[in-house]
């Protein structure tokens, strides 16, 4: 009898030991988006969102520990208040004051994106983080070294909470960052309210929307204001950067000078514009599309016919573009620097 009890107790311990390898209780988070949006392309079943995973990803996003000299975090080039782009900087910055070759893109509605980076070099959100971490002009760090640093820091317990494993892996590190990024959904602009019949455009905005649908929507397709394709939008090449975009990845001459069509959501705050940030404001952008198109062989079919807009029409179009500003998104406290995650004891 006593022998039996001992065996039973030992077996129970064995079970408890096994149970420790599985995630403790996590809090599942459901992704919500407007009913008229299509289903996300991201496969959430392979990386189910949990509050613990999102919190961990958010902390990693804001932690310069990811860079070689602990000076640069993701948020250096992706600021929450400007739709997660580097406002007022044409080209993104990295460690040792190095300057990259591209304008950091805004981050939102990423679960619907089919490729990442201006040239589509990255094929999945989960592996996107590897690119800036390893780039010498960005974080200039090796992912194995990032993990070593995280393992010595306060992170193992956070990884255990999120993934049931305190031993940090590349998979869990990247999945956590994805989880935070997947929560960055912008769907509460005036445009969205109009689509949901909660409000109406004023006459200027309505005329701008009409002009937008006639001249811009074939590339900047609703509801994401991008068709997620690569297009040559008629920019003359910057002879210092010599950036041929998609061609650098595919080596297909038909892809020369093509870049991923960026979203126009929150465009009011995501200046400067274009892959190299050459235009400071929307009036320069409209001037480009109406006056300065470079008719090279790979020019987008949608730009072969000239776009003509009167100065009043330009104002109306700009007024419409401002209805894509989503203040709920830009000033959402869940997206900004998580003071409570870095300094859990200090209450503000």
């Amino acid at each position: 009898m006593s022998k039996n009890s001992i065996i039973a107790i030992l077996s129970l311990f064995a079970f408890l030991g096994l149970a420790m390898f599985y995630p403790s209780s996590t809090t599942p988070i459901k992704t919500t988006y407007p009913s008229y949006w299509p289903k996300p392309t991201y496969d959430f079943s392979k990386n189910p969102l949990t509050q613990e995973g999102i919190d961990l990803g958010r902390k990693l996003f804001y932690d310069p520990i990811l860079s070689s000299d602990s000076s640069i975090s993701c948020s250096n080039c992706h600021l929450s208040f400007t739709a997660f782009t580097h406002v007022d900087h044409a080209l993104s910055h990295g460690v040792n004051d190095s300057i990259g070759t591209r304008n950091s893109p805004s981050l939102m509605n990423l679960a619907w994106h089919t490729s990442f980076m201006w040239d589509g070099a990255v094929n999945h959100l989960d592996v996107q983080g590897l690119a800036p971490i390893s780039h010498p002009a960005e974080m200039n760090e090796d992912i194995n070294n990032v993990i070593k640093k995280l393992q010595r820091n306060s992170y193992p317990s956070l990884f255990f909470k999120a993934f049931g494993d305190s031993n940090i892996t590349g998979e869990h590190l990247l999945k956590a960052i994805s989880q935070f990024e997947l929560t960055l959904i912008s769907c509460n602009s005036k445009y969205d309210s109009v689509m949901q019949k909660q409000t109406v455009f004023n006459s200027q905005e309505a005329n701008g929307y009409k002009l937008f649908k006639q001249n811009c929507a074939s590339c900047h397709t609703e509801p994401f204001f991008t068709n997620h394709q690569f297009e040559n939008n008629g920019l003359f090449i910057d002879t210092l950067l010599n950036d041929y975009g998609r061609y650098n990845i595919t080596k297909n001459p038909n892809d020369s000078l093509k870049f991923k069509v960026p979203t126009l959501r929150n465009i009011e705050f995501s200046f400067p514009y274009m892959h190299d940030g050459r235009f400071k404001n929307l009036s320069e952008v409209l001037k480009h599309y109406t006056k300065n198109i470079n008719h090279s062989t790979t020019l987008s079919n949608h730009l072969k016919n000239p776009i003509t807009l009167t100065s009043n029409e330009k104002v109306d179009l700009t007024t419409f573009l401002l209805t894509l500003t989503d203040k709920n998104f830009l000033f959402n406290k869940n997206n900004s620097f998580p003071n409570e995650l870095f300094h859990p004891t200090e209450k503000d």
Binding site: M1, N4, S5, I7, A8, S11, L12, D43, K46, N47, A121, V122, N123, H124, L125, D126, V127, L130, A131, I133, S134, H135, I143, N144, I147, T169, G170, E171, H172, L174, K175, S178, I249, K251
Partner: protein, 217 residues
Amino acid sequence: MKHSVFSLLMLFNCTVLMSQNNAKEVLVTIEPLLNKHILILEKESSDFKTITNLKFYLTNFSFSKNGATIWTEKDSHHLIDASNPSSLTIKLNSDNLDFDEIHFLLGTDSLTNVSGVMGGDLDPTKGMYWAWNSGYINFKLEGKSKGTAFEFHLGGYSPPTVQTINLATNKNNITINIDVADFLNTIDLSKQAKLMSPGKEAQHLSKIASSLFYINE
């Protein structure tokens, strides 16, 4: 009460043990060679070749008999690393040992390349993933030949570089040789000693790499 808990646990343990006993096993040993001699990293061969790094993925293992597949390994991804002896042995828990051919891929299939981040042997920390042009490196060979340093990172899924390898065998203990000298002897290193991006050249060299595998029975 204690008795019933105990019996339940014992029943569980017995089931686990029995299922383990039923599993059959095929042992595959990968034997990297250099000029028909066992490859020793950093050691120069008689014809002045030194290998410093040899890593490759073998995936999607299956067995067939008379051309019909009889067993396929699930989640079959194995990173072979010449510097890590334990990676050179693969246990295949096939429930059917009556086969006359073994099949596998050199590299990872295109689905694996577009499915986001994965763990285990596919974790990007293994140094076999391209950060700036998404996709796995299927085959990595680095070293020196007669003073010329070479670096071949073959991979990419568009165009596909993954190769199918079929070898005849009916043994439960299979040794698969791969002689990297045959790869280096096929290539003119004075013209090409480096490749680190996907494309047609990666496709061409991947075909050569897949021809290196053989069974000596």
